[in-house]
Amino acid sequence: MTRYVLGRLVVSVIVLLGISAVVFFLLHIVSESPGRIVLGQRASPQAVAAFNSEHGFDRPVVVQYFSYLGQLLHGDLGRSYKLNESVAALLRQNAPRSAMLSLVGLVLALLIAVPLGIVQAVRRNSATDRVTTGIAYVLYATPGFLLGLLLISVFSQTWQIFPAEASQSHTMWAVFTDPRAMALPVLTLAVTSIAIFSQYQRSSALEQLGQDYIRLARAKGLPERLVLRRHLLRNACLPLITLVGLMIPSLLAGNLIVESLFNYPGLGLLFLNSLQREDYPVLLAYTLIGGVLTVLGNFAADLAVARADRRIELTK
C-alpha cells in the first residue's frame, strides 16, 4: 500500500513535470517577449530588451524553464505581469473561493444524484424513471452558460428570489454568511453534475440490483429500505467514486463559466482576466493547478475505491 502510494507519487511528479514543460514552451512560443507585454506597445525596443535581460527573458528557453522549475520548488510561481503581485498571492486570494463553490456544488450534486439514481433503478421503466431520465439528458446537453442565464432570468429577474451576482466579499466568512448570493452559482454548477451522476448511479444500481447478494439480503428478511441502504448503496456508488475523481478538474473548468457569469472572483475569473491581459505567469499557474487536480483527483478516486471495495488490490 505504502509502496503503491509512493509509486503513484513518483508517476504524478513526472506527469506534472511534463505538463509544466509543455505549457511553458507553448506560452513561450506565443509570447517570446514578456517585456513588450509588460511595458506596452509604446515602449522603445531598447526598454523592452533591457526589461527582458533584467528579468532573464533573453536566456535560452530551456534555461528559463529550469529556472522556473527551481522557483516552483521554493513555492514561487512568478509575478503577475500586470497586477504587481506574486502569482502565489493571487492564487491564495482566489483559490479558496473557487474551492468552496466547487465543493458545495459537488456535495449538493451527490446528495441529490445518488438517491435519485437509486430511486430510478428501483422503479425502472416507471413514469418517474422515464421523466427523470429525459430531464437529465436535456440538462446534460445544456451548456453551462445557457443554464446560468436561464436561472438568472427566472430566479433573479422574474421572481427576484436570488441576486444575479455572486458574493463579492473578500473574506471567506462573508461568503459563507451570504448564502442567497451563492445559490445561483452553486445551482448552475450542480445541475449538470446531477444529470451525469444520477444516470451513472442509475445504471450502476440497476446492475447491482440484479445480483444474488441483493436476493440473499431479501431472503434474510431484511426490509427493502435496509436492503438498499446496507447492501445496494455502497456497491452502487463504486463507479461514481471514479467518476467524481475524473470530474474534479472539470469542476475547475465549470467554475470558469460560472464565475464569469456571476462575476465571482475565483480562479476562473482570474484566469479569464489574465487571458485578456496576456498575463502569462498567471495562466501558467492556472494550467498547472489543472494538472495537479487531474492527477490528485484520479489518485484520490483510486484510493477511495480501494478503500470501499476490498477486492481491489492497489498494485502497479
Binding site: R3, Y4, L6, G7, Q211, D212, Y213, R215, L216, A217, R218, A219, K220, G221, L222, P223, L226, R230, H231, R234, N235, L238, A308, D309, R310, R311, E313, T315, K316
Partner: protein, 704 residues
C-alpha cells in the same frame, strides 16, 4: 394486526405434527413486457418435518422458481396465480410483505448457488452472517451486536470454518469457493430455521468440495431438525442426499416419491430417459450414450397435453391431447404419464449405435515437452520480489494421431492454461508444444498464423465464445475467410455442410447466437472448430454448461466426429464421467503437475495416485442403492495456492498417505504398466521398477 398476534402466528403450530410445507396446485406467472411465462404449473408437493426433498429438473423446469415462490421472492412481474403454499399450516400466498419478512431468514432460509455473487463484496463476513439475527422482526427487536457476534462465531465453527473469530473480519473474496459456500450455509442456518431451500448449493464447486458441503448440510439438518428442499440438476446428488425426490419438467411435477423407490421403479418416461442419459463411470464406451432428442419446451407457450410428449419415444395421440393425471405407483410415489415405464431403462438392451474404434498411430502427432506457465501477480513494482502463479509446472505427454486425450482435475489445477498453450493462444513460459515434429512454440508469428488452422479449440461457454452480433453463417465462414479458403460462395457451402455435420438445419445460418439454445450453440462451437479441418482439437469443458438431457446429444456428436475425422483431441473437464466416455487416454492434473497418466480403463479401473482415487470416490453416483463408501480415500480440504505450492509432492497436504519423504522428494513418474504411469511415493498399485522415485527438493533451508 398487532405485534402480539404477529408473534402468535409465527409461533403457531410449532408443536404440530403436520407437514412443514404443503404446496397445492401452485401456478406462477411472470410477465415482462408482452411476454408471459408460466414457470410453475399446478404443482403440488409436501415436505415433512426434518425431511429432505430433492427437486430435480433442467434449466427452465421451474425448480428454482418454486423455491422463490415459497419465499415470496418471485422476480419482478412474477405472481402466484393460483394454488396455495402452507408453511406450518399457515397460508403464505397473499401474506402481506411485513409478515413474510418476519418468516424469511428466521423460519424459511435460502442457500444460493454462487457464493461469489451471493455475498456482498463490500461487507465483512461476520456482519453478513449476523444480519438475520440483528433484524428487528415484527416488533421484536434484533439481537445486540455482541450477542450476535458470539452466535456467529459459534455458527461459523459449526459449518467448519477454521479460526472463525478471525474469519469474521474477512471480506468474501478472501475466502475460497468452498469456504464461501460454508458462510452461505451459516447465513441460512444462523436463526435455526425449520425449512431451508438450497438452490444448487454445490453446482459451482469441485466434486471434492461438493461432497464435503453436502455432508455438512446433511449433518446440520439432522442436528437442528430442519426440513430441506434441495434443488439440483444432479441426479447423483439427489440419490445420495434426498429422502424423497420430485422430478420437474416444463413447470410441472411429473413424478415424485421416496428416493430409492423412484430410482428403482421409475415410472415417468422423462425420469427414465433422464436417468439413462447421464454418463456414469461404468458407461459402455463402445456405444453411443442414450440421449433425449430435442429440447425442453418454451414456457411462454400454453401447453396442451404432456409437455414431454414431443421428445418421448413412447408418446401416443393421447399424450399430445390431454395432460395425464397424477397416478399412484406405490404409496407416496406418484407420476403423471399416460404410457408409464416400468423401472429403469436397461441400457444394454437398447439399439444404440456402436462407436467405431480407431487405429491409433504409434507416431505422436502432438507432443508437450516440459510445459510451464507462470504469470506474475500483485506486488511487483519497486523493490519487491516478484510473486508468480505457477499455473502449469512442467507437464509432458504426447497424443497419437486419432487419439483422444482427457485432462481432469479440480478447478485451478492448470488444465485450462494447458489447453490454451496447446492451441498456441498463450505462449508457455518454458517448454514447447510440438505438432507433427515441428515446434509451435518457437515458430514465427507468421508461420504460426497459417498453422493455426490445424489447432482449433472448442470453448466451455458457447454464449461468451460466439460473437453476439454475428450471424451463425458469418461465424462459421470467418475462420475460412481468415485463412483465405475458397470463394465467398464456397465458404457458404462449407458452412452449410458443417451445420449438417453437427446436426443443425441450414436455416440456422441466418440466426444470431442468442436465438439458439445452449445445446445448439455448443454445436455451432464445434462446427466452427471443425471449419478448417484441424488435426488437433482442444475441447475445454465442452458440455459442462449444458443440461443433462442435452449433454449426451453433444457428447455423442463429439465422439462420432472424432472418430469419423480421425481427429487428435484433448478434452479438458472436471467431469470424470465425461472424460471417461470421450478419452482413450487420460491425464490427472494437480496444481500444475501431471500426477497420473494412462489408458482410460486402467486409470479409472485401478487408480494408482491417491488423488485420482479420491476424485473418483467423490463423484456422486446416481444410484441410491450403492453403499456410500463416503470416507474411503476421499480428498479432504482445499487446493493450496499455486503461488506457493507445497514442496516435494504437491498433493501431500491433502493426502491420507503422505509421509516425510513426500515433503522432501518430488516424485517422478513411474510405470505401473506399459500404458500407465504415476508420480507418487505411495502408489495404490505396484510399480514396475523402482528406478528413480523422485528428485530431492532443492532450495534453501527446511522444506515447508
Amino acid at each position: 394486526m398487532t405485534v402480539e398476534s404477529v408473534s402468535e402466528i409465527a409461533g403457531s403450530g410449532a408443536g404440530a405434527e403436520g407437514p412443514v410445507l404443503q404446496i397445492s396446485d401452485l401456478s406462477v406467472e411472470i410477465r415482462s413486457g408482452d411476454r408471459l411465462v408460466r414457470p410453475v404449473r399446478e404443482l403440488s408437493l409436501e415436505l415433512a418435518r426434518g425431511e429432505t426433498l430433492g427437486i430435480v429438473g433442467e434449466t427452465g423446469s421451474g425448480k428454482s422458481m418454486t423455491g422463490l415462490a415459497v419465499l415470496g421472492m418471485l422476480p419482478p412481474g412474477g405472481k402466484v396465480t393460483s394454488g396455495s403454499i402452507r408453511y406450518d399450516g399457515r397460508e403464505l400466498v397473499g401474506l402481506d410483505a411485513s409478515h413474510y419478512r418476519a418468516l424469511r431468514g428466521r423460519d424459511i432460509a435460502m442457500v444460493f448457488q454462487d457464493s461469489l455473487t451471493a455475498l456482498n463484496p463490500t461487507r465483512r463476513i461476520g456482519d453478513q452472517v449476523a444480519e438475520p439475527l440483528r433484524i428487528p422482526r415484527a416488533g421484536a427487536p434484533g439481537m445486540s451486536r455482541a450477542e450476535a457476534a458470539a452466535r456467529v462465531e459459534e455458527m461459523l465453527g459449526l459449518v467448519g470454518i477454521p479460526h472463525p473469530s478471525e474469519r469474521m473480519n474477512d471480506f468474501p473474496h478472501q475466502l475460497s469457493g468452498g469456504m464461501r459456500q460454508r458462510v452461505m450455509i451459516a447465513i441460512a442456518l444462523i436463526c435455526q430455521p425449520r425449512l431451508v431451500i438450497a438452490d444448487e448449493p454445490t453446482t459451482a464447486l469441485d466434486v471434492t468440495i461438493q461432497a464435503e458441503i453436502l455432508e455438512l448440510l446433511d449433518g446440520l439438518r439432522e442436528r437442528l431438525g430442519m426440513a430441506m428442499i434441495l434443488v439440483t440438476h444432479d441426479m447423483g446428488v439427489i440419490a445420495r442426499h434426498a429422502d424423497r425426490v420430485g422430478v420437474m419438467y416444463a413447470g410441472r411435477l411429473v413424478e415424485s416419491g421416496p428416493t430409492r423407490q423412484l430410482f428403482a421403479d421409475t415410472r415417468h418416461r422423462y425420469t427414465q430417459a433422464l436417468l439413462a442419459s447421464i454418463p456414469t463411470l461404468e458407461q459402455d464406451r463402445g456405444r453411443d450414450l442414450i440421449s433425449i432428442p430435442g429440447a425442453p419446451p418454451d414456457l411462454a407457450m400454453a401447453a396442451v397435453g404432456c409437455p414431454f410428449a414431443p421428445r418421448c419415444v413412447a408418446a401416443t395421440d393421447r399424450c399430445t391431447d390431454d395432460y395425464p393425471p397424477m397416478t399412484a405407483a406405490a404409496p407416496g410415489h406418484d407420476f403423471a404419464c399416460w404410457v408409464p415405464a416400468s423401472g429403469r431403462l436397461v441400457v444394454d438392451e437398447l439399439p444404440l449405435a456402436p462407436v467405431a474404434g480407431v487405429a491409433i498411430a504409434a507416431e505422436p502427432r502432438l507432443e508437450l515437452r516440459d510445459l510451464r506457465q507462470e504469470y506474475p501477480v500483485g506486488g511487483g513494482a519497486m523493490l519487491s520480489r516478484r510473486r508468480t502463479v505457477k499455473a502449469v509446472s512442467g507437464v509432458s505427454f504426447s497424443v497419437a494421431a486419432g487419439e483422444t486425450f482427457g485432462l481432469v482435475g479440480e478447478s485451478g489445477c492448470g488444465k485450462s492454461s494447458l489447453g490454451r498453450m496447446i492451441v498456441a493462444l498463450d505462449r508457455p513460459t518454458a517448454g514447447e508444444v510440438v505438432l507433427e515434429g515441428e515446434s509451435v512454440t518457437t515458430m514465427s508469428t507468421r508461420a504460426l498464423s497459417s498453422r493455426r488452422a490445424q489447432l482449433q479449440m472448442m470453448f466451455q461457454d458457447s454464449h461468451a465464445a460466439l460473437d453476439p452480433r454475428m450471424r451463425v453463417g458469418t461465424i462459421l465462414r470467418e475462420p475460412l475467410a481468415i485463412q483465405g479458403v475458397g470463394s465467398r460462395a464456397e465458404r457458404t457451402d462449407r458452412a452449410r455442410s458443417l451445420l449438417a455435420d453437427v446436426g443443425l438445419p441450414a436455416g440456422v445460418l441466418e440466426r444470431y447466437p442468442h436465438e439458439l439454445s445452449g445445446g445448439q450453440r455448443q454445436r455451432i462451437g464445434l462446427a466452427r472448430a471443425l471449419a478448417l479441418d484441424p488435426t488437433v482439437l482442444v475441447a475445454d469443458e465442452p458440455v459442462s454448461a449444458l443440461d443433462v438431457s442435452i449433454r449426451s446429444q453433444v457428447l455423442n456428436l463429439m465422439r462420432r466426429t472424432q472418430r469419423e475425422r480421425g481427429l487428435t483431441s484433448v478434452v479438458i473437464s472436471h467431469d470424470l464421467a465425461v472424460v471417461r466416455y470421450l478419452a482413450d487416454r487420460v491425464g490427472v492434473m494437480y496444481l500444475g503437475k501431471l500426477v497420473e497418466i494412462g489408458d482410460t480403463a486402467e486409470v479409472y479401473g485401478s487408480p494408482a495416485h491417491p488423488y485420482t482415487a479420491g476424485l473418483l470416490a467423490a463423484v456422486p453416483d446416481p444410484d441410491p442403492e450403492r453403499p456410500a463408501d463416503a470416507d474411503a480415500g476421499r480428498v479432504r480440504g482445499e487446493l493450496p495456492s499455486p503461488i506457493d505450492p507445497p514442496s516435494g509432492c504437491r498433493f501431500r497436504t491433502r493426502c491420507p498417505l503422505a509421509s516425510e519423504e513426500c515433503a522432501l522428494v518430488e516424485p517422478l513418474p513411474r510405470p505401473i504398466s506399459d500404458t500407465h504411469e504415476v508420480a507418487c511415493h505411495h502408489p495404490l498399485q505396484p510399480v514396475l521398477s523402482t528406478a528413480t522415485a523422485g528428485v530431492q527438493v532443492t532450495g534453501e533451508g527446511e522444506p515447508r
